[in-house]
Structures are given as structure tokens and as C-alpha cells.
């Protein structure tokens, strides 16, 4: 069985607020040294998949550089295919349209099966049993789904199945979910079958050309037997500031639900050639991850410190995520702060103080008391910033920023 994996990497990630202003969601940093797309690519490597096409769209530049033609994932073989296919005809209208617009490429490779994956999720999964599941069920199309907490179900595409896992109904972000089985955005289709579906969907003017909203509900409505494969491992939809932060707090927990230390399932990433982190002048860390190139002179607690970041003397970083190449000045105090790349925080600045009030620009995005600084933000010494504030990429801040405030760049 020849499989072509198609990785949809066009996500804008609007609910990640200022972190995704100039960065596609798959390129967002995760776990100190990774980017979100590393997880799906590493899964492909470990699943022995050799045909990979990445379909970026929004802000593809950093993604293309990071992916480096698949070399860090050992995906470069004479027998394999690795392609990055940004829109070359028109903007992709939806996930199904992205595949439709690349029919020519897929036909050229002529796989038996297309495995559709998303670059927006953090999880470790062997795709081979999932691909076999299609044969087990003798189906032309299957998807992978996972149980989510019932109260979270309204955030997801929900799949309702019978006792044989045959899909009976789709509910897109339902207020009253009939099931807690969430669609993971992982699909396997016989290519000849998907090809027909895509041609048909492209002609349909009322379609939004999306797998979850159009293709799958249509298959169910015409009575095609399609099945849900249940995945029981850790799966994080890095869709919101809350889930992004919780994903990192999972990593610093004593027994993380996501195990990055499994020698059989390493997560690969673009190599950075940085020296090991050093702790000097009283620098220490507890319940934290500290990445290569970091210099820690202050105290890091329940936090993740990115590549090449500097935590100065007397600084305290608590329940925070520090993006790569950031600088936390002397005596600065950070509580529940997420920073993008290359953020400068001046000496004596305090962030995450006071009462949490709803964010004035996007109250649904900045929650859990977390203040988010976009990349290249610079905060002057001795500033004070409250909770649930958001600072736009490249903005310079000094003085007092109250909780819930949104600061734009000038």
C-alpha cells in the first residue's frame, strides 16, 4: 500500500492571539525547543511514511525554513517524496480545496491511500494501525477520533458512532453534544475515492470545501460506510492560549501525560547547534524545562524556557512560557506570562500582578490570568503589567499596563 501523507499547515490560529500575528499556527514554538509541526512530522518518520506533502498557506516563510525539506525528520530518501506546496493557483478556500488544488501532484505520485493530517496538534501517534483500520473495516474512508472531556466537547467537531464505530452523524461545535468523541482531523481515504469526492465538491457552490464541514457530513448523508478509529493517547489541540499554556504545564508536571523522553519516539526538530544551558550566579530551576543555549541566573519555577533565552539575576519566572532568544532582566517577576520569540523585559519589571479582568480586545482569548507578549515586544525597566493583558508583536511598553489591557504597536 503506497501512502501519501498530506499535512495541512495553513492554520491561522486566531485564538492564539498575538502569538500568531506573523506566524502560522504550525510554526508556533512549543515545549522550549520545538514547533507545533514537529510532532506530526516526527509521527510520520516513526510511522515509516515516505511520501509527505505539506500544504502551507498563511505565513509560510518560517514554516518552509523550519521544515528544511524534511531533512531533520530523516524524510529525505531516493525512494521518498517530500514536497511543500503553498497555493499556486488561488488561495485555498478550505481544507478539501487545498487537496483539490494539488490533484495534479497527487496523481503524479498516484498513491493507493492519502493520509490527511493537520499540523496544529501535539500528540504522539503511530499512523500504521490507523491505516490498517481502513482494511479491517473494508472502508474507503476512515477518520481518527479521541475522547475529550464532555464540557470541552462544544469546542470540537463531534462524531456520533454506533457500536461498530460506524459514523452516524457529525456535529460541528455542538451546544448539546451527543458524544464526546472529537474528530482529530486525521483522515485516510483511498485516493481514487477521495479524488471523485474532491471533483464533486469543487463544483458545489454551496460547499465551504472543508473536510470536517462538507466532505464527511456528505459521506454520512449518502450512506457511505465510514468509521471512526479511536485514539487513546495524549492529544492536544493547541487552539487557544489556555490549551497552549496547559500543554506546557503538562510538560513540567512530575509525570507528564505527553512523554518527550521516549527513545523510540523522539520528536525531531530543526537543529540549532546551541550549547547546553548553564546555571550561574545563583540561577536555579524547579518543575521546569530549560532549553539549549539558555543562561539562567534567576529562578525558574513551573515554566518552560526557550532556546537561548536569558533569565537574569534575581528574576523570577513562574508558570510561564518564555519564547526563544528572550531576555528577562534583573529582578523581573513574571507570573503566568507567555512570550513570543525575542522578547526583552527590562530590569525590575513585574508582569501578572493584580486582579484578572477580561481582556478589552479579545476577552475569549486571554484567560486563566495569562498575559501574552507577542514576539519582539520590549518592556522598559520597572514597568508593571497586569493579568490577561496582551501586547502586540513589536510593541514597546513602559509604565503601567492594567490587567486586561491590549497594547498595540505604534
Amino acid at each position: 500500500m503506497r501512502v501519501l501523507s498530506i499535512i495541512l499547515a495553513g492554520g491561522v490560529g486566531t485564538r492564539l492571539g498575538v502569538l500568531t500575528e506573523t506566524l502560522a499556527k504550525p510554526s508556533v514554538h512549543f515545549g522550549g525547543k520545538y514547533r507545533i509541526i514537529d510532532f506530526v512530522l516526527s509521527n510520520c518518520t516513526h510511522s515509516d511514511l515516505e511520501g509527505i506533502a505539506i500544504l502551507p498557506q498563511y505565513r509560510p516563510v518560517e514554516l518552509i525554513r523550519h521544515v528544511a525539506m524534511g531533512r531533520p525528520w530523516d524524510l529525505v530518501r531516493r525512494s521518498s517524496h517530500f514536497a511543500i506546496l503553498p497555493p499556486h493557483k488561488e488561495w485555498y478556500r478550505g481544507t478539501a480545496d487545498a487537496v483539490y488544488q494539488n490533484i495534479e501532484y497527487i496523481d503524479y505520485l498516484n498513491p493507493d491511500v492519502t493520509l490527511i493530517l493537520s499540523a496544529d496538534h501535539v500528540y504522539l501517534m503511530d499512523y500504521r494501525p490507523f491505516l490498517q483500520y481502513m482494511d479491517v473495516k473494508n472502508a474507503r474512508a476512515v477518520l481518527a477520533a479521541t475522547r475529550v472531556p464532555w464540557e470541552e466537547a462544544p469546542r470540537y467537531g463531534i462524531v456520533v458512532t454506533d457500536e461498530h464505530q460506524r459514523i452516524l452523524e457529525f456535529q460541528e461545535k455542538p451546544q448539546h453534544p451527543k458524544s464526546n468523541l472529537a474528530n482529530m482531523g486525521i483522515y485516510a481515504f483511498r485516493w481514487s475515492f477521495l479524488r471523485e469526492l474532491l471533483l464533486e465538491d469543487a463544483e458545489n457552490e454551496s460547499s465551504s470545501h472543508d473536510f470536517g464541514a462538507d466532505i464527511w457530513p456528505r459521506l454520512v448523508s449518502v450512506g457511505e460506510p465510514v468509521y471512526a478509529y479511536q485514539f487513546n493517547g495524549y492529544w492536544l489541540d493547541v487552539g487557544t492560549i489556555k490549551s497552549y499554556w496547559e500543554g506546557h504545564m503538562d510538560l513540567v508536571a512530575p509525570f507528564p501525560r505527553l512523554n518527550l523522553y521516549d527513545p523510540r519516539w523522539k520528536i525531531y526538530t530543526y537543529p540549532s547547534d546551541l550549547p547546553s544551558p548553564i546555571f550561574v550566579e545563583g540561577g536555579t530551576a524547579r518543575s521546569s524545562l530549560v532549553s539549549e543555549g539558555a543562561v539562567v541566573k534567576g529562578t525558574v519555577l513551573k515554566s518552560v524556557v526557550g532556546l537561548q533565552s536569558v533569565i537574569e539575576e534575581g528574576a523570577e519566572v513562574v508558570e510561564s512560557i518564555i519564547g526563544p532568544r528572550s531576555y528577562i532582566g534583573k529582578g523581573a517577576k513574571l507570573y503566568r506570562v507567555i512570550t513570543g520569540e525575542s522578547v526583552q523585559i527590562g530590569d525590575g519589571t513585574r508582569i501578572g500582578e493584580g486582579e484578572a479582568v477580561p481582556n478589552q480586545a479579545a476577552p475569549g482569548i486571554y484567560t486563566e490570568g495569562i498575559t501574552v507578549l507577542g514576539r519582539n515586544v520590549s518592556i522598559a525597566p520597572n514597568s508593571v503589567i497586569g493579568k490577561q493583558a496582551s501586547i502586540q508583536e513589536g510593541a514597546s511598553v513602559h509604565g503601567t499596563i492594567p490587567s486586561g489591557a491590549h497594547v498595540n504597536r505604534e
Binding site: Y268, P275, I278, V280, T284, L289
Partner: protein, 322 residues
């Protein structure tokens, strides 16, 4: 760059046994994540040298394994790249003389000779400029009796080789004999330089010096490349206490680490105490174990509650369980 590189990595260095009974000195693990040879290799590559030969003992399995994937130093090139030259060599003259074909065929005229145990981060481009500006026959860096880097024209080298092929050491025997006839220039030493083959003290001092951030930054500023192992960032648990130490990727630290360098993929469990130590890679220090002034080689395990406390440096050899 109009130069090619030659790294002498055939020596095992008796003075560092038992660390060097299992590997040549050029593949000695240093500073948590590197092997000594990463420094000369990376300095060359970062300075634009793309044709690099490494002479080594054919039994140097650890070094051969380390160099296996040339792309990790950007040396998988169509023109140039990494050339491994194995042999049972008698000395550096023998190394060069037996590989005259390589020297002759190299497209570049200037040769950079570096010993594989030299730890420094230096822009060899500046060094070449100096060599050309001084119109020197030979420019060297480091002690004049035993330099770390030697730069010269390969045709001059070939001439000298044919004339003195019966001597043993290129510098101490050949150049020492004829240096009066040559225009030698010493390149001013601007960066910290270490030579681990000098002995255990030098190896230990390198690591303790590196705990000074200004020295560590200077040693690694060239972004030294090494064999990738793709570990996650170092993790510190609720019980960890760290003081003045380097902790590498893949480590999980629950114990107390003071003035130490901890190599990749090591585990220091809760209640363990590590002071003034060098843990290479893949070392496990179990609960309540206590290590002071210890060099633990790769794949060693210190069992729970065991103590290795020493006034002078104690070595736990590779794969040993204490």
C-alpha cells in the same frame, strides 16, 4: 575559502586512561554534549573550510560512529566534504606522508592542520588573513613547542615531507629542526584554548573553567556542531536544586547539582548529590547517591545511596555500575 583542513585524531592519549582506553582522545566527550573533535571540525566549517580530512586509528569505533553522518557538520558535499583517513600511523609525519595523494588532490593551496583534542572557538578566516598579511611560511596558534593550529602552504608542506619523511612528529621533530630557515608567525591567542590530551587535570580544568559564563560563551560562540541526539530540553523536577552547573538536553534532574557539568540524557534522581563532577552522557545517579570530584564516563550508573567522594579526581569507567 582557499584552504582545506586536516585534523589529527589518531592519538589515544595514555595520560587520560581509562577515559581514553575506550576511545581516542579526539572523541572524548566534553562540555556535556560535544566530543573534542567537534571543535576543530566546527571551527573549520564555520570559517568556510569545506574539505576536511580526519586521520584516525581504524579501531576508533567511537570516533567513526561520531563522524558517520557528515551532514551534521554540513560536510556532505559534492565538492570536498569529510574524508576519513584510517591507518596505523607512527606519528604526524607518517600520517601526512601516507596521505600525500589527498594533499596533492585537494583543490585548495593552504592547509589548516589542527589536533583533534584542541578545544577552542576561533575564526580561522581571520587566522588565514593574518597568515597571508604576514607572508609567513607557517602561522601557528598556541604554544610554540606544541601548537594547536598550524597554517601553511601545502606545496611547502609536501617539500618538507619528502625531505624529512623518516622523522616522527611533524612539529616537534621536523619543524623544530628547520624552523631557523622558515618564516614562522605566532597568531596572538585571543580566546580560551584547551588541549585535553595534556592530561586529566587539563580535561577537568576545561570543565570547571566553563562554569564561568564568560569562558563558556567564548568556547561555544562559533555554534559548535555535534552529532544530533534529538533529546527534549533538560527537565528539572520539584525536588531539584541547581547551583553553578551546565545541564544538557535530555537530562532529568531531581537531585542537587553543584559546580558540575552534566552530559546529555543523564538522570539525577531525587535526593542524589553531585558536586564538582563531570558526568559525560547517559549517566544515571540514583536516589540518595553522593558524588564529589568524580568524572563518570558514559553509560555509568551510581546505585542508590552509594558514595563516591574523593579528594582528588576519581573516574568511573564507561559502562560501570557503582
Amino acid at each position: 575559502m582557499e584552504a582545506f583542513g586536516f585534523i589529527f585524531a589518531q592519538d589515544w592519549a595514555r595520560s587520560l586512561e581509562p577515559l581514553t582506553s575506550v576511545r581516542p582522545v579526539a572523541s572524548l566527550p566534553v562540555l556535556g554534549k560535544y566530543r573534542a573533535i567537534d571543535f576543530p571540525l566546527s571551527n573549520m566549517v564555520r570559517s568556510g573550510i569545506v574539505r576536511i580530512a580526519v586521520s584516525l586509528d581504524p579501531e576508533a569505533n567511537s570516533l567513526l560512529d561520531h563522524l558517520r553522518i557528515a551532514s551534521q557538520w554540513d560536510l556532505d558535499r559534492k565538492e570536498g566534504g569529510l574524508f576519513v583517513l584510517p591507518g596505523k600511523y607512527l606519528g604526524t609525519v607518517d600520517v601526512l606522508f601516507k596521505n600525500i595523494a589527498f594533499l596533492k588532490r585537494a583543490a585548495e593551496d593552504i592547509i589548516f592542520m589542527v589536533w583533534g583534542d584542541c578545544i577552542h572557538s576561533l575564526d580561522y578566516g581571520d587566522l588565514l588573513k593574518f597568515h597571508v598579511e604576514k607572508a609567513a611560511d607557517i602561522t601557528y596558534v598556541g604554544p610554540s613547542e606544541n601548537p594547536n593550529v598550524v597554517v601553511m602552504n601545502k606545496y611547502l608542506l609536501l617539500e618538507i615531507l619528502f625531505a624529512y619523511k623518516d622523522l616522527r612528529d611533524f612539529w616537534r621533530d621536523v619543524i623544530a629542526t628547520i624552523r631557523g630557515d622558515l618564516h614562522l608567525e605566532e597568531y596572538p591567542k585571543r580566546v580560551p584554548m584547551y588541549r585535553v590530551s595534556e592530561g586529566l587535570d587539563a580535561f577537568y580544568r576545561l570543565h570547571m573553567d566553563a562554569l564561568d559564563l564568560s569562558i563558556y560563551s567564548k568556547l561555544t560562540e562559533n555554534l559548535i556542531m555535534t552529532k544530533l541526539r534529538d533529546f527534549p530540553p533538560a527537565k528539572f523536577t520539584t525536588t531539584s536544586r541547581i547551583h553553578n552547573s551546565i545541564i544538557s538536553d535530555g537530562c532529568i534532574v531531581g537531585g542537587h547539582v553543584i559546580n558540575s557539568v552534566v552530559g546529555r540524557n543523564s538522570v539525577i534522581k531525587a535526593g542524589a548529590y553531585v558536586e564538582n563532577c563531570i558526568l559525560m552522557q547517559d549517566v544515571t545517579v540514583e536516589e540518595g547517591a553522593r558524588l564529589v570530584n568524580v568524572i563518570a564516563d558514559r553509560y555509568t550508573t551510581i546505585r542508590a545511596n552509594r558514595e563516591v567522594v574523593s579528594n582528588k579526581i576519581a573516574i568511573i569507567p564507561r559502562e560501570h555500575v557503582v
